[in-house]
Amino acid sequence: MHQTFDAALEINLLHANQEGADHNREHFDRWGITCLNVMSSPGAGKTVLLERTLAALSKEFKIAVIEGDMTTELDAERLRKYDVPVIAINTGRSCHLDSKMVAGGIHQLAHQYNPSQLDLILVENVGNLVCPAEFEVGEHAKVALLSVTEGEDKPLKYPVMFQEADCLLIAKVDLAPYLEIDLERIEANVRQINPHVTIIPISAKTGEGLEAWLAWVQSQVRAKRSLALNH
């Protein structure tokens, strides 16, 4: 007799990654650290944004960077010039950071610095509009960049990342006059799937919008700090 059996598992495929992310977040919370996960397609301007951010905020806050890069340390080298700890994670063939890789980065960091003195960890994810959205790393907020050269339709075509974002930076707006791009259209497309997201048009080149971005980062860090003080 041939009898078949059934076992109901009902287990989320990302369960292990999610557990790891929650674990990382617990560490961050204990240390009073805010963690931001910065995501975009390749070349949208993540590293330049981080350079600007470090230049502006590294006096006020103690910042560290976890830099995800598939094969090189180029981005990490650029950021080390700002005299902050930068942990480079080569993701190899994987096109996103996952919570385990970031846990490894945190351990490396904790060897060199006392993490409870840090205020902010900026994670630069691998340039990719698809995968990073599904893999939480323990961040408190997700920052997505969409550069004006990518086209208005990207939020509709790659909705998951834009739906998950807490802050959307429309990057390289200095280039908008040279392109046939409708910034209002981008905003409207994003709001269709994420009505409450903070949207800031920025240019790392002219400095437009940087103040608003820095103010957003400051508010995230201060909110976390006051939470940590009350515990």
Binding site: M1, H2, Q3, T4, F5, D6, A7, A8, L9, E10, I11, N12, L13, L14, H15, A16, N17, R93, S94, C95, H96, D98, V130, C131, A133, E134, F135, L156, K157, P159, V160, R191, Q192, I193, N194, P195
Partner: protein, 131 residues
């Protein structure tokens, strides 16, 4: 591609379950539920699964993927609607943004089908485990 990583996670989860079974049954089907509002492409998952299970305890097992449509609920209209992925997510009636996703974000192993093998590879039920 991330389907490779998802498949790894899938295999690890199933292996953990399998190793807990004293009889190490033969797994014939793994039933997955994949929402349409995820970053997962079912065809890529199938391909990665075939490659990664070759010559393992899952060799020959079938991956059955059930896709779940994206369904949102419009609070203003008090009704469900199906957004057109890639084109339009707002409510087709009143243009309210998509705020409340009712289904389409699923990504889970639903169930496993298995049976028991005897030494000479005949199938037998678990009512007579050692005969």
């Amino acid at each position: 591609m991330h389907e490779t990583d998802m498949t790894k996670a899938l295999i690890v989860t199933v292996r953990n379950w399998w190793e807990e079974q004293p009889e190490r049954p033969k797994i014939s089907h793994i039933h997955l539920v994949v929402g349409q509002f995820t970053c997962v492409e079912p065809a890529s998952l199938q391909f990665a699964f075939e490659v990664q299970t070759c010559n393992t305890f899952l060799d020959g097992a079938k991956l059955v993927i059930r896709e779940i449509p994206l369904i949102a609920f419009c609070h203003r209209c008090q009704q469900e609607y199906r957004p057109e992925i890639g084109i339009q997510y707002a409510c087709p009636e009143c243009r309210s943004p998509m705020e409340d996703i009712r289904s389409g974000r699923e990504l889970k192993i639903d169930r496993i089908e298995y049976n028991y093998l005897t030494d000479n590879s005949n199938l037998k039920s678990n009512h007579a485990p050692n005969l």
